[in-house]
Point group: C2
Chain length 446, copies 2
């Protein structure tokens, strides 16, 4: 491999030029070897943030981060391995619902998840709210559990894409997180390391998501699909709205509880519908349905016949968790304090500032403001009303749970502020707006 002057590579990006594949590869490899210091990488990342990266640059970046660590070989596990990745949103617990559904339908789901940061939750934190549940399996055990159950739910180890891990930490403190090519590279390097054959993406946009507009989300989805296809992984991305939280429960155990409800056939319509759509697409990509529609049908059956909830129970037991609360979620210990938020006027819920609702959950203890923070599995919010629902004055619109009493007044105000009640009825926003595949973008109109 050629060697390059690092300052010249930074200069090239600074001057809006594209780097050659060899140049990007050299930069990342030298960074991995500590031959490029953080201060040069952060200057490069800011230049890349402001001047962009083309498809080839993003693809080489992904490849180098992917190969900076272990890439799982799942060829010994029969079947087409499919995972789902969501860019994150408030109340987004679809992973907990669709993973057991898809596995129950015979498609292996090797799921490596992250923790929550900021206003969005993380699947790992939710799983760990189940007493005993162990997300830290070594890689041999990862393969073993997947083979046995068609499902494994673990956290990212230091062996998976370490260059991304280090670069992400650097981006976090240098204001270079929200770059579409850098986000795409970061997501895909981790997903490709799982050993998957196909991928379903849920790219969220709106006040509760990292991408604020549909345009940004479309660009990110296009980048993600492009990279995935370049690595030979068939991928379908859905653009979904985060103009209000997904489902009604926000907070770690509260979201597990709502997911158990869904798997028992008692879930809110928006959450059920999106979970089935994503699960059905995974089942289709996994070769267990002829079409997405048939996949969705199989997904519904797996809930109806109880195979999905049994799959969740099995995986909880396999990964050292207690199944008691899967069977009887009402027995789960409650937070020390709960309080209600009431409607200040009569009318309809017309808007929800989803970001603020996520921040309110964080205040209650459901998330972390820094990587070192402990999270409280009991803390969170149950929404009693969502956009389009009629409310009477004084009616409960949300119930909050916390072990941190000092925040109650603040959270009360935040939620009253975040939920808009108006005289004129407004329809809830369409949840899925577009589908992006290798072939292009399809507007989703039903």
């Amino acid at each position: 491999m050629n060697s390059y002057n690092i300052t010249s590579l930074i200069k090239k990006k600074r001057d809006k030029q594209a780097l050659e594949a060899d140049e990007i590869a050299y930069l990342i490899r030298q960074y991995r070897r500590d031959a490029v210091p953080d201060y040069q990488m952060s200057a490069f990342l800011m230049a890349a943030y402001l001047n962009g990266m083309n498809d080839e640059e993003a693809s080489v970046l992904t490849r180098e981060m992917l190969h900076s660590g272990k890439v799982m070989d799942l060829s010994d596990v029969p079947g087409i391995k499919v995972d789902k990745h969501s860019t994150g949103g408030v109340g987004d617990k679809t992973s907990l619902i669709l993973a057991p559904i898809v596995a129950a339908c015979g498609v292996p789901v090797p799921m490596i998840s992250g923790r929550g940061l900021g206003h969005t939750g993380g699947t790992l934190d939710k799983l760990e709210s189940i007493p005993g549940f162990n997300v830290n399996l070594d890689l041999d055990r990862y393969v073993e559990v997947l083979r046995k159950h068609n499902l494994v739910l673990v956290g990212q180890t230091d062996e998976i894409a370490p260059a991304d891990k280090r670069m992400y930490a650097l981006r976090d403190v240098t204001a270079t997180v929200e770059s579409i090519p850098l986000i795409a590279g970061s997501i895909m390097s981790k997903k490709l390391a799982e050993g998957i054959d196909a991928l379903v993406l849920d790219v969220k946009f709106g006040s509760g998501a990292f991408m604020k507009t549909r345009e940004e989300a479309l660009e990110l989805a296009g980048r993600l699909v492009g990279i995935a296809e370049e690595f030979g992984k068939k991928t379908i991305a859905y653009l979904t709205s985060m103009e209000q939280p997904l489902g009604c429960h926000i907070g770690n155990w509260l979201e597990v509880e709502e997911s158990i409800g869904c798997l028992n056939g008692n879930g809110p319509e928006d959450l059920m519908s999106l979970s089935h759509q994503l699960a059905g697409t995974m089942i289709y990509l996994g070769g267990k349905a002829e079409s997405i529609e048939e996949g969705v049908e199989r997904s519904r059956q797996a809930v109806q016949d109880g195979s999905a909830i049994r799959k969740l129970r099995d995986i909880v037991l396999e990964q050292d968790g207690s199944a008691d609360y899967i069977d009887r979620p009402d027995d789960y210990p409650k937070a020390a304090t709960s309080f209600q938020v009431h409607a200040g006027s009569e009318g309809y819920v017309t808007a929800m500032d989803t970001y603020r609702i996520g921040m309110a959950a964080l205040e209650l203890g459901a998330g972390r403001t820094s990587k070192e923070d402990e999270i409280d599995p009991h803390a969170g919010i149950i929404l009693k009303k969502k956009i389009g629902d009629p409310v009477k004055e004084g009616e409960t619109i949300a119930v909050c749970f916390t072990n941190n009493e000092v925040t109650t007044d603040k959270v009360h105000l935040m939620l009253q502020d975040a939920i808009t009640i108006n005289d004129v009825w407004k329809q809830a926003p369409e949840l899925i707006t577009d589908v992006v595949t290798r072939e292009g973008v399809t507007n989703w109109t039903r």
Copy 2:
């Protein structure tokens, strides 16, 4: 002082917003205290490079870098203290000529200079080619020598603007050097620390300068004058062309030799004329002439009556240098190897790639490619022809001196390539193009 989240400050600049004075001050102070790591500063610098900084930001940056170290108090030295700063070019030795002239005319010149880097030389390296010359005076001695001779010629110590020193080193390896507000802040923090009352600036543009175009040079000059005036220092900036080297000698001792010639009244016209203009402006700002024109006249007299060369001799002796080579420059030891570059055809010199000529001098040993390089005081180039001069085929156009024989073939080719000979005569470019003061820009037409 308020405290700020550093990532938010980087984000603000990334998003093209101006930082408040307090925010810039906080960033620089925390950086000085190692509370801001290099990787955050380099991300900020790249954002500032790409998105710019307004006048207030640049001014606060200057102030903070200035006060990161010692600011000289020269109020005990009588007279209006005036210095000159040049943005650097090939063959630019005006400091060596004008400093003794201005001091001889009764204006104190407290000159703190830098070393050369890249294709341009540095005054310190030139001074050190005089055997024994000591540029490392402590700050007490600095005041004492200035008071005694109206002149002192020293190097930047660690006490002067240490934040700038550290930031410059970071910019050098993160491709963030060529930013006009950052350059302006770096120059002015060092110049203001000298304890000056007024300043003359020589802002060079063209292939041999850091600013490639007149437009960039005008912007930099405007910024420099703006900052200087804000700190209450009367300042006049000249824009001068670097389309060909200044004078005929390039290289450390060779430039001292040419400067001695100038002070003895035997210098090339372009170099003499610019030196007198800058010196005359300093004499005017120092209150020893009623106008710049009168200052220029006094400058010419100081050369004619021998007071300027005597001043150089005095300061060399005061700073431990040998005056022998000031009296008899021909006795200076010669480089081991010299060779001539001949014209390949008959015609006129019509263009000089000044950057390449500077790089050729560097190859011969006159400069350094990294901060650790030793420089060779004997190495360099004497140009026998400049733009507008007629040449015969085979005539000597340059003579090179080196102690590093291996470079001779390479340098020979570089110089033949850098000096264009053409059938059609072309006039040498106008040396001074504009004057920039607080009042604005004046096109310089004589």
